[in-house]
Amino acid sequence: MSNWIDICAESDLQANSGVCALVEGKQIAIFYMPKDNGLYAIDNYDPFGKVHVLSRGLVGDIKGEPMVSSPLYKQHFSLTTGQCFDDDTVRNEVYAIRIEKSRVEISLEG
């Protein structure tokens, strides 16, 4: 059974853009694409720039797969798997996320 952690109100999210949440000491980037009901949580850490900035990247898709592009050096990360499109060996952690009663919740358990 997942342990859901309350993050913020649904209205705090930025449509087609990202915000960053602090969850048990972890920085997690949250992206929201209302048109497809897409809600994604991925590690905010940019493994290339080695700083915590992914939440400030631009979102979109690559061949249908939702992705975020790093604001620093523009590498692309899948929002569903965390896999980096530009480097097979790099993958970010992704997390379960949902909206319950207009509240955004994240679970850190796989």
Binding site: I7, V19, G49, V53, R56, G57, P66, K74
Partner: protein, 845 residues
């Protein structure tokens, strides 16, 4: 002991150097030790484009020598040392500095010298020729204290020289002995049209004037006295009355020279001594000399072949030329004067548009023998192909020079050309060679030029080369994909047009109506830029934020550690002491690193995202506004201090810079835009390295466009001269709006113009002559942008909702603990990885 023979080349001009390039590219490089003498202090440079020295090209730009060429190929060059004689019996060359080199083979590439008519006073002060970079430098120096200039000689070079005098702001005169301009290339009708056009450029043409002597003037330095009793006063005299072969070394050493000068050569370019060749303008073949580079290059290739015992002959040259004189297109092909017996002439003369064209055809009307074009040389490529390849003319040859009134095509498509057709005459590149280069993967003009060298000489074949490329690409089914990205099958310009026609205002509408998927960082930013350029609304308005890159989203520039830099606007680089103090106090309070930028303002580094709004609140309270350093938009208008303070200043450069920066601030564009204004020709603001550069002159302002620094610097092109401020601003409005509307994404103005068909001239025709009849629209657009300017930071700090974004965590007021600074030279800098680890340890303890 070397078994190699020695080959000596006398002269490192264009032809001599091209010969060396061909030599080292052949098998001969292993057979010879190569030595060359170069009389000038600098090795080969492009004399054909010498005039561009005045429009800003430097000696380095004109150089034809790739870096390390002589070292790489083990060629010994004696720079600044003139070969003065050779001993053909004992086979050695002696130089002015006393160097003696034994040779096995000798190549003379001594070129030519400018002929100066032996009139009394020809050697007075400020009398020049127009041949070397040193000549140009001396001329420039003299022009500083002169008002009037005269060119003696109305030929091709003379008219080039006249342009140079005009560019030096001299009242310019052209004095010619014969009754018409360019008498070697043009017929009477063409010459008259050219004279009209040259006069319209405020250059006075004095025909049939025989200069008899030059004496002291009454108002100017000199007075030129003509045989018809008239006279002309001038400060500078530039002789451009033709060239003569430099054959003195051959004369002295007992080599046969022609009755009218020039070193006599046979079809293998050999002189009267079988071990000595002569190439280029110093040589005379069949009693003819050739004053163009292409035949000289050709002779060099013949010598390289002959040295390898390959069959090759020089059998004369096509002396057709196409050039632009003071913005006037002029072309001449083959027998322009219809000297061929029974030849027929067609003439088209358009007085309204000042265009003259004539065709000379064979009696059976099947073959083109010659042509003249003035005012419009667009048909040159087609006509020269008819001429060079003997292609049969259409039924009505005059259709080739008459304007196309219907949709019938009279041009000769590249498909109609045989494989052997010579496309580039400078480097002798055939259509076949171009096709195989395209086949092997050269699918762009730069790649093709690089691989074949075509269009890298005089550039006259550029349009033809492009059409061959396009034709080949089309034939091989290769489609050039110009789609923006996988979400939009359109170019940026397509999207711009769609936006205007359908009045689209958001990215989501764009995606829904014309795209697919969810977009990406490429299309979001491109669309964001287009929307901002056209509608000029607040970039963080609802529905627009998702299209902005992080820099635009947070109205600051993200640095490598995830912090931002803040740049308040300082128009024209002007700032009050109180302003400086305020910036200093704010930087101190927020512990920011401060640095003066290249754009003459102060950049504050190390601000966390949550600090941006309070920093900006204080900056705005101190009277500053956004500097748009984060946007693809106008950055700065750099200026020198100008006539207000400077002893040499001609006009108020700071005042103009402030006015321009205030006018164009906030304009969103495909890429950043930089301006500069200099108060005099000393150019302290470096305006010629900017997208828009302005330099004060005695007569107003000179406008330069499409320059940039950065990775691939480009010197800006002179666009218009001596403008009043109103016209200047009008032109800038038009250039910028046209750029914003038609450039590709992330394309600076330089690349935009270089990729534009017709380049600078086309841009001038659109902006100055309103060729497309869109200038009113372009100006209205800019007026709207100017009228709807807002400081984005002011709007942002007044909006509570927008400020919510400026915190690191959506669910906590903490800040990013990974941002760590250390001190260096009394200021902060981001900690490196090791330092950050150390810092984390200290924290834990």
């Amino acid at each position: 002991m070397s078994t190699k023979q020695t080959l000596v080349v006398i002269g490192n001009g264009m032809v001599g150097h091209n010969f060396l390039e061909n030599l080292v590219a052949s098998n001969l490089k292993d057979d010879y030790d190569i030595v060359t003498f170069c009389e000038e202090e600098r090795p080969a440079y492009d004399r054909v484009h010498l005039t561009e020295f005045f429009s800003g090209k430097t000696a380095d730009d004109l150089s034809m020598v790739t870096e390390g060429f002589f070292e790489e190929h083990n060629i010994k060059i004696h720079l600044g040392d003139k070969a003065v004689s050779f001993d053909k019996k004992n086979k050695f060359v002696t130089s002015a500095k006393g160097v003696a080199i034994s040779y096995d083979k000798l190549v003379l590439a001594t070129g030519s010298y400018a002929f100066v008519p032996p009139v009394t006073g020809h050697d007075r002060e400020n009398c020049f020729v127009y041949r070397t970079i040193e000549d140009l430098e001396a001329l420039t120096e003299a022009a500083k204290t002169s008002k009037v200039g005269a060119v003696v000689g109305g030929g091709l070079l003379g008219l080039e020289a006249a342009k140079a005098l005009k560019d030096l702001n001299l009242k310019t005169n052209v004095i010619q002995f014969s009754p018409r301009l360019m008498s070697a290339q043009l017929d009477a009708g063409g010459a008259q049209m050219l004279a009209n056009k040259i006069e319209a450029l405020d250059i006075s043409v004095h025909a049939s004037k025989n200069t008899q002597k030059i004496v002291d003037g009454d108002h100017c330095k000199h007075k030129m006295m003509f045989a018809d009793g008239t006279s002309l006063e001038t400060d500078i005299i530039l002789f451009s009355a033709g060239i003569r072969p430099r054959d003195e070394i051959a004369r002295k050493s007992g080599i046969e020279v022609g009755s009218r000068g020039g070193i006599v050569i046979n079809n293998q370019c050999k002189t009267s001594d079988p071990d000595i060749y002569a190439i280029g303008e110093c040589a005379v073949w069949n009693e003819e000399t050739f004053g163009l580079v292409a035949p000289g290059y050709n002779m060099g290739r013949v010598v390289v072949a002959d040295l390898q015992d390959q069959e090759a002959s020089f059998t004369g040259a096509d002396m057709s030329t196409k050039l632009k004189l003071n913005g006037v297109d002029v072309a001449s092909i083959g027998d322009a004067h219809a000297k061929t017996a029974d030849s027929l002439v067609y003439t088209y003369q358009n007085g309204a548009d000042e265009i003259y064209k004539s065709l000379v055809v064979s009696p059976d009307k099947k073959k083109l023998l010659g042509a003249v074009m003035v005012g419009d040389a667009s048909g040159y490529g087609t006509l020269s192909q008819y001429y060079l390849n003997g292609i049969e003319l259409p039924e009505h040859p005059d259709s080739l020079i008459l304007p196309a009134r219907s949709d019938e095509s009279v041009g000769l498509g590249p498909d109609a050309l045989p494989e052997s057709a010579q496309i580039c005459s400078c480097f002798d590149v055939t259509k076949g060679q171009i096709c195989s280069a395209v086949e092997s993967g050269c699918h762009t003009m730069p790649a093709l030029k690089d691989a074949t060298k075509a269009a890298t000489g005089c550039g006259g074949c550029t349009a033809l080369l492009k059409s061959v490329l396009d034709c080949e690409l089309e034939k091989s089914g290769f489609e050039v994909n110009t789609d923006l990205c996988e979400h939009f099958a359109y170019t940026r310009q397509d999207l711009y047009n769609l936006m205007m026609v359908h009045e689209i205002k958001t990215f989501d509408d764009f995606l829904e109506q014309h795209g697919q998927g969810r977009g990406c960082e490429v299309c979001r930013q491109a669309v964001g830029s287009i929307l901002a350029s056209y509608w000029n609304e607040y970039v963080l308005a609802d529905g627009q934020m998702s299209v902005q890159d992080t820099n635009d989203t947070f109205l600051a520039n993200m640095q490598k550690d995830g912090t931002y830099s803040v740049v308040p606007r300082m128009t024209g680089g002007e700032v009050t002491p109180d302003g400086l103090i305020a910036i200093g106090q704010i930087a101190k309070k927020y512990k920011l690193y401060t640095k003066v930028t290249g754009g003459q303002r102060v950049d504050l580094f190390g601000a966390r995202v949550d600090q941006l709004p309070p920093i900006w609140k204080e900056l705005i309270d101190a009277g500053f506004e956004s500097g748009h350093a984060y946007g693809k938009s106008l950055r700065t208008v750099k200026s020198c201090v100008g006539s207000t303070w400077c002893r040499f200043g001609v006009d108020d450069s700071v005042g103009l810079a402030v006015e321009l920066e205030n006018r164009y601030k906030g304009l969103r564009a495909p890429h950043k835009i930089k301006f500069a204004v200099s108060g005099c020709t000393r150019e302290c603001a470096e305006a010629q390295g900017k997208d828009i550069g302005i330099i004060a002159t005695e007569g107003g302002w000179n406008l330069y466009v499409c320059g940039n620094g950065g990775m691939k610097p480009r010197h800006a092109d002179l666009f218009a001269t001596d403008l009043d401020k109103e016209t200047l601003i009008k032109y800038i409005d038009r250039v910028l709006t046209f750029y914003v509307r038609t450039a590709d994404r992330l394309q600076r103005t330089s690349v935009w113009m270089e990729n534009m068909e017709g380049g600078l001239d086309y841009l001038k025709s659109v902006v100055i002559n309103d060729k497309l009849k869109i200038c009113a629209d372009l100006e209205a657009h800019m007026q709207n942008v100017v009228a709807t300017y807002q400081c984005e930071w002011k709007t942002t700090i007044e909006d509570e909702e927008k400020l919510k974004r400026f915190r690191h965590f959506v669910n906590s007021d903490k800040t990013d603990e990974n941002i760590v600074f250390v001190e260096e030279r009394g200021q902060i800098r981001p900690a490196d990885e090791d330092e950050r680890k150390h810092f984390a340890l200290v924290e834990e303890v």
